[in-house]
């Protein structure tokens, strides 16, 4: 599987990108607003100055007179150190001030202030113009008062505010990036928790996930559960199929065996008899294999939904030994039972099956005229059934490998077997929370296989 980037990192980057954009936007807005506010302040002061001058306009002896009030210029000094220019004209004739100031051509209506921007004396200036009719002589003359100021202070104030806004924006961005990382990690936590829950599961645990998941993860959970359900069904179907197949093979084999035994009794020729015995032996082996396949399927099936009833292992061992006594007797093998009561919780059928397979193995691999010992003990919260034989041992391979399906030891030539017996035993024990242990037999020859279960 190739990973294609990290969602967390992508989310963080995305959020950081958004934060950067917002920081930039807010900086731009503050800068613009600061400039506008500074400009509006200057406009207001210029308008007040021009209006104050216009208020002093009067007519004396047919002449327009005015008096520049001290406050009109003093107020311009209040905000910033900017150069000031002014022009006062009656109609087209200059009354006083800077004649070449580029005043707006449009004459403002009385009471209205007209603002304009221009260049004078090598600097950008802001101008406010008011106009007032003054009756001088016979008819009224329109007197316009223009006050202009350079924009040095406006620039300084807005640059200062812009600088502060830039610092704040950078700080905001840094905080937002930190928060983005936290947010990304927080929002990915449910996903990580589900992943952890799935990886914690045992190899054959296909139960549906029952967890509270955020809305966005619900489809994933549903799909995952549905997949597991399908997988479980598929496994069950194949187990069913094997069981069915084994069952169908076993019945005809029994018929063949019966017929072969009848034939054995009726023929006299020794060569024929030997041939028939071989047939019977092969049929027995096939039947046994089919039985084990069936057992395996049964274990798989029952382990899915394990019954947990109290079972006494001593009783179980005695029963199983009794059932296999006949088989053992055929090889002159003695079964020694040494049991103490040991109670576990589990499925009696499965446990019997497991023990039978282990015991069957022991008998099968033991030489004739030996003993197989069965002991049941409880220690340290564990119940243990140990089966020791005097057979050839486990061979050289790793002991655990023997529990793999269809795997047989490397010293089993000449002995028929399916390789399923220990697999079944292991599966049963695992389903019960127990384990299968292999060790050399305590008498130096043979093997000791232990079935270990948590005791009640």
């Amino acid at each position: 599987m190739k990973t294609t980037g990290s969602i967390g990192r992508r989310l963080t980057l995305l959020l950081a990108g958004v934060a950067a954009l917002l920081s930039l936007l807010s900086w731009g807005m503050v800068t613009t607003l600061a400039r506008q506010a500074a400009e509006r302040t200057q406009d207001n002061v210029l308008a007040a100055s021009a209006t104050t001058i216009a208020e002093t306009l009067r007519s004396e002896q047919g002449e327009v007179r005015l008096e520049l009030p001290y406050s009109a210029f003093a107020m311009l000094d209040a905000i910033s150190q900017d150069r000031v220019f002014y022009r006062i004209a009656a109609g087209d004739a200059l009354l006083t001030g800077y004649d070449d100031l580029p005043v707006p051509t449009a004459v403002p209506a009385p009471g209205q202030v007209v603002f304009d921007t221009g260049v004078y004396s090598g600097e950008a200036v802001r101008m406010a113009t008011v106009s007032r009719p003054v009756v001088a002589g016979s008819q009224p003359v329109q007197v316009t008062v223009t006050v202009a100021q350079t924009r040095h202070g406006v620039g300084t104030i807005s640059a200062e505010l812009s600088r502060v806004a830039a610092i704040l924006s950078v700080a905001f961005f840094a905080v937002a990036v930190g928060l983005s990382a936290v947010a990304a990690r927080t929002s990915l936590r449910p996903l990580n928790e589900i992943a952890a829950a799935v990886s914690r599961r045992g190899p054959s645990d296909l139960r549906p996930l029952r967890r509270d998941a955020p809305e966005e993860l619900a489809p994933l959970m549903t799909s995952l559960n549905r997949l597991m359900e399908r997988l479980g069904q598929s496994i069950r179907r194949s187990e069913d199929f094997i069981a069915e197949a084994a069952h169908r093979v076993r019945t005809p084999l029994a018929v063949v065996r019966t017929q072969a035994e009848i034939a054995l009794r009726s023929v006299g020729d020794e060569a024929e008899k030997t041939r028939l015995r071989r047939i019977i032996r092969a049929v027995d082996e096939s039947s046994r294999s089919a039985g084990q396949l069936l057992d395996h399927a049964t274990v798989a099936w029952r382990a899915d939904d394990l019954a947990r009833a109290p079972v006494d292992l001593a009783e179980l061992a005695a029963q199983t030994a009794g059932a296999l006594e006949a088989t053992a007797a055929m090889k002159d093998i003695r079964l020694h039972l040494d049991t103490a009561p040991a109670r576990v919780a589990g499925d009696a059928v499965l446990l019997e099956n497991a023990l039978r397979n282990v015991l069957d193995n022991a008998i099968k691999y033991s030489p004739e005229d030996t003993a197989v010992r069965l002991s049941v003990r409880t220690a340290d919260g564990e119940a243990r059934i140990a089966v020791s034989d005097e057979g050839p041992g486990l061979g050289t391979g790793p002991a655990e490998a023997l529990t793999e399906r269809f795997r047989r030891g490397d010293n089993t030539e000449g002995i028929v077997g399916s390789g399923l017996g220990l697999t079944i035993a292991r599966d049963v024990l695992t389903a019960h929370g127990g384990r299968l242990e292999f060790a050399p037999a305590p008498k130096g020859r043979g093997t000791c296989v232990s079935l270990v279960l948590p005791s009640l």
């Binding site: 007179r65 210029f73 311009l76 900017d82 000031v84 004396s121």
Partner: protein, 341 residues
């Protein structure tokens, strides 16, 4: 021939353009070829220590020092007369020069150290704060209380018209830029100004162009009092030298303080040296005590904190009384009060 004519015409034109009345002039040769050309309203006897101190720092620099009235200085700079530094006590005219774009900016850590009120936009730099004072003749005031406020002065002038008839001097504000600045600022700040002018006007006052003559006349007993004299340390020294015959009084109700300012004219060639001189002056302006310098520092020392009024503010409001209409009106009113026939 024609070329020579043109040359003569051009030089004549140049002389005319730069023509202004020079009161004094001195050249201080340095060791190098560089010249710093200063135009100033300060008399040589007042300002020479500053020039020598600066030249001690920059011995290679020659200094060309020209003294002119504040109005002449203003006109010379506006007309492009070739100076590197303009020093004037007429704040309004200096401000107008800077406002109208006739000044070059200068900035250094020295000028940055100046308080905000002592500079304007890196164009004008103040280096002294000088109050307007009243100079009295002790002989003429024998038996009278020394007035401390304008109200007391008015009462005194009213009570003894004979004693003060023709013996009151002040600036002729029609000629003196500084006198005009003092008068306009005082008219703005105190009601007593016009009443005092009326009272003085009735006593046939003598009007002067400059403070020097006024002080001389007080010292000689020709004047009982000179009103609105620029109170530099030079005046104080003169008062001390007179053996108690000349007294200096600072009005307690209100007292104008002007800033002597420096600016680098637009046409300056040696701006580096001009900037260095400004730095030197700013440094001296920020010194703590009066020291041995003839002009006071920007901040008054504790013993002569004269009333605690701030100096006249460097700002566009200074241009209000320079406006021709306002000036015409103000001079008209002043003449009505002062020049009574």
């Amino acid at each position: 021939m024609r070329l020579a004519c043109l040359a003569v015409a051009l030089s004549l034109f140049a002389a005319l353009a730069a023509a202004f009345e020079i009161e004094d002039h001195r050249f201080y040769p340095g060791t190098g070829p560089q010249v710093l050309k200063i135009i100033s309203t300060a008399d040589l006897e007042v300002f020479e220590p500053y020039l020598l101190a600066f030249q001690a720092q920059r011995p290679e620099l020659s200094i060309d020092y020209t003294v002119a009235s504040s109005a002449a200085l203003y006109g010379a700079i506006r007309n492009g007369a070739p100076f590197d530094l303009a020093l004037s006590s007429a704040m309004d005219l200096q401000f107008r020069l800077a406002n109208d774009g006739f000044a070059l900016p200068h900035a250094s850590d020295r000028t940055d150290a100046l308080p905000d009120w002592a500079r304007w936009r890196d164009l004008i730099f103040a280096f002294t704060a000088e109050p307007a004072v009243v100079v009295l003749s002790a002989d003429r005031f024998a038996g009278l209380d020394v007035p401390a406020t304008r109200q007391e002065l008015i009462s005194l002038l009213r009570a003894y018209p004979d004693r003060f008839q023709g013996a009151v001097g002040t600036y002729d504000i029609r000629d003196s830029g500084l006198g005009y600045l003092f008068a306009t600022q005082e008219a703005r700040s105190t009601d007593a100004f016009w009443r005092l002018s009326e009272v003085m006007g009735r006593l046939a006052p003598r009007l002067y162009c400059c403070s020097g003559q006024m002080i001389d006349d007080v010292a000689a007993g020709r004047l009982a009092l000179a009103y609105n004299v620029l109170g530099s340390y030079a005046v104080e020294r003169m008062a001390r030298a007179s053996g108690g015959r000349v007294k200096i009084v600072q009005m307690q109700d209100f007292s104008n303080v002007i800033l002597r300012t420096a600016l680098v004219p637009r046409q300056a060639e040696n701006t580096g040296a001009a900037g260095a001189m400004i730095d030197k002056l700013a440094d001296l302006g920020l010194r703590d005590g009066p020291g041995t310098w003839p002009l006071p520092p920007l901040r008054p020392s504790a013993d002569d904190a004269g009333g605690g009024f701030g100096p006249i503010r460097l700002g566009p409001a200074l241009m209000v009384f320079l406006d021709p209409l306002n000036r015409r009106d103000f001079l008209g009113e002043w003449e009505n009060a002062m020049v009574q026939r």
